[in-house]
Symmetry: D3
Subunit: 235 residues, 6 copies
C-alpha cells in the first residue's frame, strides 16, 4: 500500500504518527511524509529563511532514517489557510503520493496550521482523482479509495482515539526520528517549556495504557461517503 502522512510542521509527524509509519515500512509498504509548512517561525531568534532550510534538512534526515519519501510543501509557517492556492498545493501532494491510507491532523487540534491542514486534506480528497481540475502540477491519481485517519491532538485535549496502534516494538526508532529535529529542542523548551522527548513518552504511554500495551499512537477515522471504509470481519 501507499501510506501518506500530511502534517503542518516538521516534527509533527514524528510526534504523532512516526511509530505507526515505521510499522508500515517494516511490513513492506511505501511511506510518504508530507510536511506542509517549512516551520520557519519556530524560533524566537533564528532568521526564518535560515530556519526553513535547517528544518528541511532535519525532516529529510528523519524520513531517510526509515526509508520514507519526503514531500516538502514549503508554505510559510503559521500561514496555512484553506484557500484556493493551498487547496491546489494539497491536491498535488495527494496526487504525488496516490495514497491508500492518509494520516493527517484532526480538525480540533490546538494550532490553526494543524486544523487547516486537516481541513485541506478533507477538501482535496475528491479533486485528487478528477482529471479536469485546472492549474494542477500533476495529473489525477486514483479516484476516491483512500481511507483518512486523524492523528491525536497534542496533550490529547479534545480527542478521543477510536483506533490504537501498538508501537512498543518501534518506539526507539520513533525517538531517533524525533532526534533529527535538533533545532526544536531548545526552542520548544524556551518558548513553551516543553521537553519533546518527554512529551512523546507520556502521550504514547497514556494511549498505550488505554489500549493495553506499552506504547501506542491513537487515531480516529474520517467517515464520509465514498471514502472506501473498511468492511472486514472484526476486530
Amino acid at each position: 500500500m501507499n501510506i501518506l502522512c500530511v502534517a503542518a510542521h516538521p516534527d509533527d509527524i514524528e510526534i504523532l504518527c512516526a511509530g505507526t509509519l515505521i510499522r508500515y515500512v517494516n511490513e513492506g509498504h511505501q511511506v510518504t511524509m508530507a510536511v506542509f509548512t517549512s516551520g520557519n517561525m519556530g524560533d524566537a531568534v533564528i532568521d526564518p529563511e535560515k530556519l526553513g532550510r535547517i528544518r528541511e534538512e532535519e525532516s529529510r534526515a528523519a524520513a531517510a532514517l526509515i526509508g520514507a519519501k519526503l514531500i516538502w510543501g514549503n508554505v510559510m509557517d503559521e500561514h496555512v489557510f484553506p484557500d484556493r492556492e493551498q487547496r491546489r498545493l494539497m491536491i498535488d501532494i495527494l496526487r504525488e503520493a496516490d495514497p491508500d491510507i492518509i494520516f493527517t491532523h484532526s480538525p480540533s487540534d490546538y494550532h490553526p496550521d494543524h486544523r487547516y491542514v486537516g481541513q485541506l486534506v478533507f477538501d482535496a480528497y475528491f479533486q485528487k482523482g478528477l482529471p479536469h481540475i485546472p492549474d494542477q502540477r500533476l495529473p489525477a491519481c486514483r479516484f476516491g479509495h483512500a481511507q483518512v485517519y486523524f492523528m491525536d491532538n497534542l496533550g490529547g485535549i479534545g480527542f478521543q482515539p477510536t483506533e490504537y496502534v501498538d508501537i512498543s516494538a518501534v518506539f526507539e526508532t520513533k525517538k531517533k526520528m524525533l532526534a533529527c529535529h535538533k533545532s526544536q529542542f531548545e526552542a520548544m523548551q524556551q518558548l513553551a517549556s516543553t521537553d519533546l522527548f518527554e512529551m512523546i513518552e507520556v502521550q504514547a504511554r497514556f494511549r498505550g495504557m488505554a489500549a493495553g500495551c506499552r506504547y501506542a499512537e491513537g487515531f480516529t477515522r474520517l467517515d464520509a461517503f465514498q471514502r472506501g471504509l473498511t468492511k472486514r470481519v472484526l476486530p
Copy 2:
C-alpha cells in the same frame, strides 16, 4: 410561501430534496431550485465547458418538470469557497428567491462543495435583508424570517434526521426529475460505482422505515437567533 433549495451540483437537489419540493409545488407554493456550481468536473472524459452546458440543460429540464424556477450559479465545480466573492453570489441568490424556507447541504456532508454551500447559506442569511451591503446585483429582500433546513448527507454518514417528510406519493416524480440528469448515470457508475436510482431508492426507504412510511427525506433544522423558528403547537 417561497421555497428555496440551494445545492452544490446539478442532481444534488433531485437526490436529497426533490420529493419535498414536489409536495410544496402540489400545495401551491413557489419553488426555486438554485444550483451553485455547473457540475462541469463531473466526468472523466467530457470537456468541462461542454459538460457545464449539458448539465445546465439537464437541471432546467428537471426544474421545468415540476414548474420550479431555476437559478444557475455557474461557479466552477469543485471550487466552492466561503470567501468574499462567493458570499456575494449567495446573497444575491437568497435575494432573488426571497425565501420563507431554505433547504441546503449539511456542513457535515462528504463533499467540500456541499459543506461550503451550506456554510455560505448560513453566512449570507443576514446580509440578504440589509440594504447597504455593497457590490450586490440585487436589492435587499425581507430581513431574517426564513427557516433553514439541512438536507440529509449522502449515505446518511454523520447525519441524524430530526425531521422527516413523507414523499411516498411523489417518489415517482422524484425519479423522473433525477432521470433528467442523463450525463451522470454512466459517469457515476464508472467513477464511483454508484447507481443513482438505487441510491435514492435505498436512502428514501431507510429514512421512511425510521419515520414509519414508505419513502421519506430526512432533514435537520438550523437553529439560531432570529431565524424565525416555528412556535406551533406540536407535532
Copy 3:
C-alpha cells in the same frame, strides 16, 4: 387527540408544560395530567402524609382550571426508581390516557425523580400496547403510535430545545395554574431561595426570545423506531 403529560411532582407540569397544554385544550383536544409522586417531601416542617393530601388537592384544582383530567400516581416523593413495580404503574398510566402525544421529563434534568420518570415513560412505551403483560390493572391501549416530547430542564441546564411552543396568549392562565400550588411558594423560597413565579417568567421569556415570540415553552422530541414520527411537509 389525547394529550398526556407525565411529571414527577405536583407543580412540575405547571412550570414546564402548562402553556402548551392550555393550547391543546383551547383547540378541543383531551388533556390528561399525570403526577407520578405525591410531592410529600416538599416541605421541611409539614408531615409527609398531610402534605401529600394538600398537594393532591392543589393539583386537582390546577387541572380543573383548564378541564384536564388528573391521574395521581401517589408514589412516595424522592423515591422514583425505574424498577418493576413503578414500570407497572407507568404502563397503567399510559394505558389510562391512551395518548397521541406524551410530554415528560428529560433524562438529563437535575432531579432523580424527574430523570427516572422520563426513563419510565420511554421504557413503558411498548408495553402499553401489548395485551399479555401480567399484573396490570388496565387492558392494553393502542400499540405504538404516540409521539414523545421531553420538557425543558430547570434553568435550562443541559437542555437545548429543538421545538418551541408559543404560549404568549395563554401565559396568564399558566400562572393561574401555578398559583394553585400554594403549599410550595414559601417552601421553595425557604429551601431553595426560589420564587416560582419569577422562575417561570424568566424561563418562558428566555425560550420566547430564542424562538421569536414573547413567551415560549421548549421541548425536544424522543426519536426512536416505531414511535410514529411526524412526516409532514415542513415547517
Copy 4:
C-alpha cells in the same frame, strides 16, 4: 476465537448481526447466540407460555442452520431490568461462552429490553472473570480480554456505525436464518406494519451504500479501560 452475540429477543440477532456471525462460522470460529428473553409477549393473540416454546424452537433452528450454539436466557419478554438477578444470569451467559468478541444491543436502541441487555453486558463484563462472585451457576472464565461491539439500532435512529462488515456474500443465508422465525412475520405486520425481510434488506443496503459494498451490518465498539482494545496497524 469464541464469538458471542447476546440479544434481547428471538430474531434480533438475525436482523442485526447474523451476516457477521455467518462470516465467523465460515472462517472456522466458534459462534454462540444468546437470546436473553423468550420473546413470549410478541403476539397479540397467542398465549405467552405457548409462544415462548414456539420461539425457542425457531431460534434453535436458526442457530442450527449455521452450526452455532444457542443459549436460551428465558427471561420474560418485556421484563429486562439491570438488577441483581439478571446481572447474575448475564454473568453466567458470558462465562458459558467465554468470548473473545461480544456483540450486543446499543444502549441507545428503541426497546427497553434491548437497552438493558446492552447495559447488562457492559456491567457483567468484569464479573465473568472474578472467581469469588457468589451465587453463580458457572465458574469464572477468562478475565477481561473480550472486545465488545454494539449492533445497529433499528431504523438506524440514534446510531452512527464506525465499523462495517461486508455481508454481501452471506446475505442469502442471513435471510434463511430470519425465515426460521415464522411466528413473527404476521405478528410484526399486524402489530407494527413491518415486513421483516424488507426491513433487513433496506438496512443492510443502506449500511452497504455507506461502506461501499452491496450489503453491510454496522457496529460501534465499546471502548473502556482494560477491554483489550485492538492495536493492529490500520486499517
Copy 5:
C-alpha cells in the same frame, strides 16, 4: 491582569460580557474592549460611513464609562472573514492588549461576523507571541499564556455555559454601558423586533437562575494545548 474582550460589533460586548468586565475593573485589572467591525450596516436608512462614525463614538463612550481602553478594528460590518488580512489585524489586536484573559464570541453563535471573530482569535493566538510573523504593525507580545473564554450565544441557542460570573452587583452599570449605543435601539426594534434592554435582562436573569444568583453572564473555556489552563484547587 490584562483583560481583553474582542467582539464583532459595537454593543456585542455590552450585551454579552460587560458585567464581567466591570468586575475586573473593580478589582483593579486593566480592561481592553476591541470591536472588530464598525457596525456600519446596522441600520436600514443611515448611510454606512456616517453610521460607522456614530457607532465608534458610542463605543468610546461605553468604554470610557468604566475606564476601559477601546480598540477600533474598523472592518466593514458583515464582512468578517478568517482570511490572511483579517488574521493580521487580529494578531495586532492581541499584541496591543497582551492579554492574560481573552473573551470572544463562540464559534456556534448565530451571526457570521461573531463566528469568524471567534475563529480568528483562536487562529491568531500563537502568532501574537512569535517575533518573525511578517507584515505586523506591532512587535510580538508574550507567548501563549492567555486563557480564552467564549461568551454566550444570543438567545442561548446552541450554548451551554460551564462558567458563570455573578454580575448582580454591577448590572446597573452594564445597562448604562448598553445605553451608550443609542443608534441601535430603534434599529433593532424595527429590523429585528428586539428590545435590547429586555434582551440583556432576560438572558442575565436566566443564566443567574441556573447559577443561583440574580444576574449572571455565562461562558465556556477554550481548552487547547499550551493555553495555560487553570490548575487551582477547586472550585
Copy 6:
C-alpha cells in the same frame, strides 16, 4: 470547607483524587474519604471476607496518612446497584460528611461499580437535605449547596477534563497513600497486567502536560439546577 470524595473501591481515591485531597488538607479543610464497597472481590485467591478486612485496614492507613476521615460503606464488591437500599446508604454517607464539595466517579467510567456510585451521588444529592426521608440513620444535613465534580476515567477513555488541579507539589504523598494498598499490587499485576504506580504516574503526567504543569488530576463539574455553581470572576 468540608470536602468529600466517594469512590467505589479501596484505592480508587488514591488513584484518581488523592493529590487534590492533600491540597485541601494542606489548606486547612476537613477531608472525608468514603469507600462504598469493601473491595473484597479484588483477588483471585484470597477469601472475600478476609480480603475485605485487609482492605479496610489499608484504606484506614491511607486516610490516616493525611488526617482524613474514612467512611467505610462495606457494600459487597462488584455489587453496586442504584436501588433503594444503596440510595439510602449513599444519603447517609452524604449526611455524615455534610460536604461543600463532592468528588465521585464519572458515569462514563469503565467499571459498573464506578458508574453506579457516581449515579447514586447524583441521585442522593437532594435527599441529603430533606428531613422527612424515611429509614435514614442520620438526620438531614444542609440542603443543596455542595458542588459535585467527577474524577477522571481510568486510562482517560471517554473523559475530557474541564478542570485540572496541579498536584506536582504533593505527588509524593499521593504515592505514599497508594502504597498503603499493598494487597493490590500483585493482584492487579496478575489479573490485569497493571502496575498501579506507573498508572498514576502516566495519567498524572498526561493531565499535567495538557494543563501546563508537571502532575495534575483532571475533573469535570456536574452542572445541574440548584447545585450552587461557582459564580466567581474567572479564571
